[in-house]
Amino acid sequence: MTASPSLSLAGIGKQFTLHVQGGVVLPVLAGVALDVAPGECVALHGPSGSGKSSLLRLVYGNYRAQAGSIAIRHRGQTIDVAAASAQTILKLRRYTLGYVSQFLRVIPRVPAIDVVAEPARAVGMTAAEAERRAERLLSRLRIPERLWSLPPATFSGGEQQRINLARGFVVDYPVLLLDEPTAALDADNRRTVVSLIHEAKARGTALLGIFHDAEVRDQVADRLFAMRPPSMAA
């Protein structure tokens, strides 16, 4: 019944050693195991500080795991993010693995439309096709057209988040990570994000996300994955 997973985590362990603070060790994750199937959306659920964002960053290769494996299906191969080279992770991110972080990291001087279109060009779409897709997402997410040619540095928090979302959905990634994608959005835009997620699931995308908004979570998540602060987990 269930297809083999697009994303499979086993024995994930993560702690931070804060050398600047006298070598304090901060345990965050231990023994995390989780599979996400194609077309499935799993919501990470747990209190603040339980390591939800850290787990997404580990899967993206932004944080380094101390233990365990992070297996992602990529063009007929299986890549272990926890053991992959920088070059391999960059390829994985280009073609397979999308990530919508909580905050947009702005690039000086680059207009919003190009920020959004860039991942599409990177997978080999023509500039025109990439721009067309970017425009469509910006419209759906209600970014006024007069903002498209401006760099997002001066945009509002909600506008920046929608630019980030558009950038994350401009390529049909097989695996998509979402960190509180609706936190700063109004009801109309929340509905748009829910639709985008449903469309992605219908295409077979495996989604792993953090959704603070219970209404959004109920609409998109197939199941919850409970996370506990490490003190309670121990």
């Binding site: 297996a71 272990d80 992959a84 690039i107």
Partner: protein
């Protein structure tokens, strides 16, 4: 579980590179591969050996130990310091670009902007005046210098324009590998952003391989795919740029990242 097969082979293979100034260490036992199309950032505090390493890599200085093997167009991988002097010079003038921190080090100040760019083309055998001038005009445009400045002397240019001219001079011959030492270091902050944006675009469009030295972690974040962190001449940490900056492992890298606001 497999890892992705690398396409082809490294453009540059560096092994055990060491350079000393008398008894003082410049850089020590540096080993890494650079892949085609990859932008490698070298970061670290002042005096950590970044410039020394870059000069050894780009054959501006001879290391005391170690190897730099470059995948030449004609004969495949060759030890750069085993090549004959003329061959190494040719390689440096044609296949490589070297962008210096201070543009005057990389430009000829006594000839026009157009000649600065055209000269590099002549080094790769171009002889047709009209074509050389056409290419120079094209490249001035690509680095956002007005076409009517082509016959002006570099000393009439601003710092940002000079740096862009140096970049045009380096890229016109279509090098495969470009070395940059603090390319935005001598510029005002307002001019830096524009140059960075230009560099980002050119590197991506041309599929260049780049080794860029910078002490500015924000510049590293914008330009580099991968980072090497140096301290006291040695590489203490290496990895994917955002991983090194967001989850630094080595105490020194943590200190470096903690000492700035938003890397």
């Amino acid at each position: 579980m497999t890892t992705l097969a690398m396409t082809g082979r490294p453009l540059l293979q560096v092994e055990g590179l060491t350079h000393r100034y008398g008894s003082r260490i410049g850089c020590r036992d540096v080993t890494f591969d650079l892949w085609p199309g990859e932008v490698l950032g070298i970061v670290g505090e002042s005096g950590s050996g970044k410039t020394t390493l870059l000069k050894c890599l780009s054959a501006q200085m001879e290391p005391h130990a170690g190897h730099v093997v470059y995948d030449t167009r004609e004969d495949g991988p060759q030890d750069v310091f085993a090549l004959s002097e003329p061959r190494r010079r040719l390689l440096m003038r044609t296949d490589w670009g070297i962008v210096h921190q201070h543009p005057v080090e990389g430009l000829r100040m006594k000839v026009s902007a157009g000649a600065n760019v055209g000269e590099r083309l002549m080094a790769v055998g171009a002889r047709h005046y009209g074509e050389i001038r056409g290419a120079a005009l094209d490249w001035l445009g690509r680095v956002e210098i007005a076409r009517d400045r082509i016959d002006d002397m570099p000393r009439t240019f601003s710092g940002g324009m000079l740096q862009r001219l140096q970049i045009a001079r380096n890229l016109v011959s279509r090098p495969r590998l470009v070395f940059m030492d603090e390319p935005t270091g001598s510029l005002d902050v307002s001019v830096q952003a524009r140059l960075l944006d230009l560099l980002r675009g050119l590197v991506a469009d041309l599929g260049l391989s780049v080794i860029v030295v910078t002490h500015d972690l924000a510049v590293a974040r914008l330009l580099a795919h991968r980072l090497m962190v140096m301290r006291a001449g040695a590489v203490v940490e290496e990895g994917l740029t955002d991983q090194v900056l967001d989850d630094p492992q080595h105490p020194y890298t943590q200190l470096l990242v903690a000492s700035i606001l938003h890397p």
